[in-house]
């Protein structure tokens, strides 16, 4: 499956070709892969420099001038370092921007804490005029970006390094809607991003043990499709949330809100509770933090008391 970063470059070229308002600004990353766009539209491409808060504020000025900015760099620098700029210059002033990150969570596993970003989803969820997307495959990015990029809101696209490799029906990729990947009765699994791949592997094992999982996948995190969760959890009464992001104020919080009126629900969560110390490959860190088939099976047994 094509890498999300390549799809980002391809989508910019596609959208830039037909919309002269699109302006792409990067903080010295993806400069090579964006060359087709840069060479086609040199007046609308800027490798600004390594100065993320300034890039974000400048993007606000560009939005004020009537154009549609796209700002792209690594998640901790675009969201956490430039958060005040996002808050005041876009959130408060109600300006439109497309923030496109790579390197969220622990995608840059070997680079350590400075290049990790767990809080981006919860931070970006604080603004009423923000939408948050976590496309786990290229087609999700392409379709969702084209749908929203000119809507005048803050659109945050969190691009994972590794796609989930699951082929989705394009008709199901709709802004603000969850996609039911598997229909089941035993428990609801709410999952975002590349962890869909792990969930589907775990679901296969659960199925062999006569526990069918209702798997809901969320390309859009905000606005959150609480209705789909409510419908599923009403039936299963068990829910496991798997989010490669901070355990605090993220998808689990949305699931709690969506299901607060359903009695006798058991909850479990696999997420990132605090800093991830140490190094290793992405897969190594997934294993260590429980983003694995074994981790999922264990959580279901421990927290939801489902015997398999």
């Amino acid at each position: 499956m094509k890498k999300l970063r390549q799809e980002f470059a391809d989508t910019m070229l596609e959208v830039g070709r037909r919309d002269e308002k699109l302006v792409v600004m990067v903080g010295d990353i993806s400069h090579g892969i964006l060359q087709p766009y840069a060479q086609s539209y040199p007046n609308r491409y800027y490798n600004v420099g390594i100065c993320e808060p300034t890039i974000v504020s400048m993007a606000a000025g560009i939005a004020k001038s009537g154009l549609i900015p796209v700002v792209h760099t690594i998640a901790p620098f675009i969201i956490e370092r430039a958060y005040e700029q996002i808050k005041l210059d876009f959130g408060y002033q109600k300006l439109g921007v497309n923030l496109i990150s790579v390197g969220s969570a622990f995608d840059y596993s070997q680079l350590g804490c400075s290049h990790h970003c767990y809080t981006d989803i919860s931070l970006m969820s604080h603004f009423r005029n923000a939408q948050v997307f976590f496309p786990g495959s290229p087609i999700e990015l392409n379709l969702l970006f084209k749908k929203v990029y000119a809507n005048g809101h803050i659109n945050y696209f969190r691009l994972p390094e590794y796609p989930h490799d699951h082929v989705l029906d394009e008709k199901q990729i709709i802004v603000g809607q969850a996609i039911r990947i598997l229909k089941g009765e035993c428990l609801t699994i709410v999952v975002i991003g590349p962890q869909l791949k792990t969930v589907l592997q775990a679901a296969e094992i659960l199925k062999q043990r006569r526990c069918s999982a209702d798997v809901l996948y969320f390309p859009t995190i905000k606005p959150f499709d609480g209705k789909s969760v409510w419908e599923s959890v009403t039936r299963t009464k068990n829910v496991l949330v798997i989010e490669e992001a901070s355990a605090h104020d993220g998808v689990f919080n949305q699931v709690l809100r969506a299901t607060r009126d359903i009695p006798h629900v058991s909850y479990s969560q696999i997420a990132i509770d605090d800093f991830v110390h140490g190094y290793g490959s992405y897969e190594d860190l997934c294993q260590r933090l429980g983003f694995s088939v074994e981790g999922i099976i264990k959580k279901i047994k421990q927290d939801l008391k489902i015997e398999q």
Binding site: V48, T54, S57, M58, A60, G61, D89
Partner: protein, 257 residues
């Protein structure tokens, strides 16, 4: 003439019990000059697409902007009377979401200037000849984003961008920015140093500027006096965010008469 504006600043701050009088006094001559002699605008149509943009990056000088916007009919008497009141639209910092003529919501130092640079770039991309002016504080020049923007604007040759620095000595109290002119020159800007309270010098500086799309951005370093015009307010210290009593307000009026 600008002393009338200073009286209004003192009046609205005293009435609302909120505002930065000395910071506003140091920049009111500059803002009044810009709106009188430099900026193209239409107060009846604040979003006129041919207007020039003025971004007050040192947002805590908002009272100076408000009295000038009022003088130029962007704001009504009632707007000024309701400064910092529940029913009003004017607060301690400019708010573009509700104040006609306020181009950016500022207050957090180091935000307005890069937004102004983004405006300059965005308008140039569209071949629009609007000019962009941004007023910064010298204390604000402690912020990293000011120097990041200085680098980027020079690199992008934003000839339609002009910065004005209110050099009232605030930075010198804590973290001096001297030699300021040499620093901006080293960053690739065309630098002019003037007396920010002298209209002839303002005329000389702004009259000679070239605002072409591509070229060095320009910075006018305006030497000013914080609290200018009232002896007991001038300088640095307790008056930075102090609200005058009714007696003090009378003394302010007397000195500005």
């Amino acid at each position: 003439m600008t002393n009338q504006l200073r009286k209004k600043i003192a009046q609205i701050v005293a009435q609302a019990k909120e505002g930065h009088i000395p910071s506003s006094f140091s920049i009111v001559d500059i803002i009044d000059y810009l709106y009188s002699e430099v900026l193209h605008f239409d107060a009846k149509n604040p979003k006129w697409d041919k207007r020039d943009y003025f971004v007050l990056s040192k947002g805590h000088g908002a009272a100076a902007l408000y009295v000038v916007l009022h003088k130029n009919k962007f704001l009504t008497d009632q707007d000024l009377e309701q400064y910092s009141q529940t029913a009003g639209i004017l607060g301690g910092h400019p708010d573009t979401t509700c104040v006609p003529g306020a181009e950016a919501s500022t207050g957090s130092l180091g935000h307005g200037f890069p937004m102004a640079a983004g405006l300059a770039l965005g308008l140039r991309i569209q071949n629009k000849e609007n000019r962009i002016f941004s007023l910064l504080g010298d204390g604000e020049c402690n912020e990293g984003t000011i120097w990041e923007t200085a680098l980027v604007a020079a690199r992008q040759q934003l000839g339609n961008l002009t910065a004005i620095i209110d050099l009232n000595g605030s930075a010198a109290q804590i973290l001096p920015v001297d030699p300021l002119a040499e620093k901006w020159e080293a960053f690739g800007w065309k630098v002019l140093v003037i007396d920010g309270h002298d209209r002839d010098e303002l005329n000389r500086a702004f009259g000679g500027l070239n605002y072409s799309f591509r070229g060095n951005p320009k910075v006018i370093i305006a030497k000013t006096v914080k609290g200018k015009g009232v002896s007991f307010i001038e300088g640095h210290g307790k008056w930075h965010h102090r609200i005058p009593s009714s007696d003090e307000l009378e003394q302010i009026y007397a000195e500005l008469a």
